[in-house]
Amino acid sequence: MEISRRNFFKFGIFSGLTSALPAWAKKAVLTPKEDAPPPMGEESFAYTICGLCPAGCGIRVRKVDGHAVGISGIPDHPTNQGGLCPKGAASLQELYHPDRLRTPLLRRGPRGSGEWKEISWDKAVRSLSEKITRARSGSKIKPLAALTRARAWDIQGEALRGLADSIGKDNFFALGFPKSEFPSDAYERMHGSRRVAFHMSRAKLLVSFGFDWLQSYPSPVEAQMAFAQLRRGPSGDRAEIVQIEPRFSVTAGKADQWVPVRPGTEGLLALILAKQLIANETYDKAFIHAQSRGFEDFKKSLDALSLDDVSTATEVPGKEIRLLAVKLSSLKPAAAITNRGPLLTQMAVHALNALLGNIGTGGVFSGMEGREGFWADGLADQSLQARPPELLLVDRVDPLFLSPSVWKEIVAKTPFVATVSSFLNETALSSDLVLPCHTPLERGHCSFHVSANGSAVLGAAPKAVAPLHETKDPGEIFLALTRALAGTRVPADFDSYVMSHMKKLRAEKLFHESSGGKFWREMSAAASGNPYATRSGKFEFDALTNLLKLQDVKKAREDGEFPLRLHLYAPLAFSFGEGAHLPYLQSVAGPQMQEAWETWAEMHPETASLPGLSDGEAIWVESRRGKIEARARLSRAAMPGVVSLPVGLGYADYGRWAKGLGSNPLEIGEEGTEVRLWKA
């Protein structure tokens, strides 16, 4: 090591000189002092919306001499109150990432080959609008399908909707994390509305069914704040937190009780708990009587379910189930939460909330007035699978990563795919045209976010920094296309388009005043008088009862060939499947086993069932659909029979820090998929 030699000399000179010095000078030399920081350049702050996920936290960007050099949360922003999640904290790496796309790319080789021709923006917009024109004149039923991000409304998506509207009908979709639309679907069937507010920090008992909510809550900062509230809120009360989940997750580790459950059987557990509450007559009879419909049928549909069967299927001991039912009826208000699971699970869990009388004034759940606030997601899959469009335009989402099996098929059947993205993600890589867009700090914002607790926030702020490259705002691209196709009635430039929308929303003031640090307005967060928009005006059990009739809930459980069950989870650093491209996020992805920079498969040593498999060895995880490579991590805390894999790695490109790193378990299955292991 060369430095040591040089340093050795430095050291020699140091000791030689100091010993020759007079006493006062010795003291001066031997008193170390921090170097003074360099003279400060010109410092300024910009206030804007994080934009890395749909939660819409308020951030403050510190700029010195025009460069963004620091990020912090805005203390009085209602969504994040000064805090940020790891991703927000890493925003600068997204902005300055060396592998950002800078010019439009036209595919040259076969799809996915990574062979591109750089073209000008003019040419890109012209060729895309010509493609759309040709598609419209063709015979295809759907000339264009447009896909944007789910869960938040923003002006860029609105511009895309405008483009889609000018071309046809039923062609605008939003995409979220797989199955993330099911909670809203369940609410719709039971409340008649997709918007249900959810005051987690009111609960005295919070029971989560398979929802690693500290890591994969739709609004990550809100989740951490709610946790701190439940633990040490201002009232001094301490809520009890129970985590029902196949993996000893971060949330399970922080909970008061972890109930390990076989992947995919959480709904079954919720149903048997419902049955227990009913049998013990500890449910909220007044509520069920006055405010629900279909209770008797629902009760009857539970007849076939026995505690023993459920205990076997879920692997939760009967005694524990009984205790849980008692807990639920004694600690009030108790809330049952879940997310991203099958519809049956969502409805079963929400039925528990009804039985606990948890809905409405003072409860944990309440209905919401007003508009939905974001675009309904989840419709794209079925609709486009049946009828692939002539042209697919993807706006800042990565369907090929999030739902590879469905979207590989759709993309293969779609003659032309154009993707707007800042990086070469999986979808961009398989596209015919890639349009590089600004990162959130370079974009103007006008967006609407609804937090889980029902407060809705409208924010409007100009770009925080000047764009670093020749990229464009996604909205600018969509507007240019609309103009090229429809001509005159479209505003001449994106800025005036944004302004006209802000006028409509009465948000211009926010936009202009954002430099003062406040750019948002809270919209009515009030719960409506009646939380139900159903036809009966009540909470309805009927849809759940019908679903129960259709499904055999006690499915056969053993598969000799693939004896293990897959459990998938999204680490907070890779929330929504994104984040692996930023090195600071890589290093915090797996805090529990200090895992980072690879895909690790957690399992109990007995589960490994491979003779001689040791911790850290490379393995294949194989399902009927395919196999992926991972590093085996043996943990005595893991549930036997379960293999847990993180979602968020396994990109073919996505920049140098993600490229070729780890694997995407969504390629081989979903929650509960049967798998087996091989040594690699």
């Binding site: 090591m1 040591s4 030699r5 340093n7 050795f8 050291f11 020699g12 000791s15 100091t18 010993s19 010795k26 003291k27 031997l30 008193t31 170390p32 921090e34 170097d35 003074a36 920081p37 360099p38 010195v64 460069h67 963004a68 050099v69 620091g70 912090s72 949360g73 805090g83 940020l84 790891p86 904290a89 890493a90 790496q93 300055y96 990432h97 060396p98 500290l214 989740a223 701190a228 633990r231 580790g253 922080k254 972890w258 390990p260 670093l468 907070l572 090195p583 600071y584 290093s587 915090v588 805090p591 529990q592 920079w597 690879e598 109990h604 943990s635 005595r636 805390a637 549930m639 820090w657």
Partner: protein
Amino acid sequence: MESLTTSRNGFLRGLLGTLGVFLLSGIGKAWGTAPRDAGHGKRPLKPGEHRWGMVIDLDKCTGCGSCVVACSTENNLALGNPQEASMGRIIRWLKILPSHEGEFPTPKQRLLPMPCQQCDIPPCTKVCPVYATFRNEEGIVGQVYSRCIGCRYCLNACPYTCKDFNWKAPVWPEEMRASFNPDVSIRPKGVVEKCLFCHHRLQRAKEEAVAEGRPLRENDYQPACAEICPAKAIVFGDLNNNDSDAANLSKDPRAFHLLEELGTEPKVTYLKEGA
């Protein structure tokens, strides 16, 4: 060559280095005056003197890692890569330290954010032959990169493994240099680094206070981790100010210090989980 001991040449150099250190420690002793620690929590206070400390409430902390990322951004920490990760050489001044107990079906786990404990009696400063690491008047244990000769004595002396060594010069893609926090210098190859309680923020806050002709207020100075924590689990302040939240919380019945028995007197206090 990565390690001092991988060749004879390196071995010799190591030997010489060690001899040199012996020599100097002798000289240091002879001088007897070496003021490596300016100030001590135990001696009488000068009026208005600060003693900065941190309290981390493990009951609120969710192990989310925001503090780790905020620290990395604030202090221009090297990016890291899979190779470094597999060798355990990713440099993070603040890490989430996991610990486990028990096993399925009732395992226990603790995720503990671990910055430099800012010991009042720091073992690390005592062994530095060139006075590159020291404790300043306000209790912050500093690290002067321009003095550090990379002997890693302090790194080994730290009982909390809170110091990191730059085995290689950090690799910074040109584009990312614009993101550097100008208040924090980039470390070269061959020096030790660690959490400094975002000391540069204190320096800036003092500059500002002077410019505005007023005394420093406690809230003028917050490190990046405390500022970003979404659970508000990190409280930072002046332990000498009896009214500060940090001072009060550090005397909470739930308070404990890591490896208390070593007598290092950390200024990072943890509050244990549970009611």
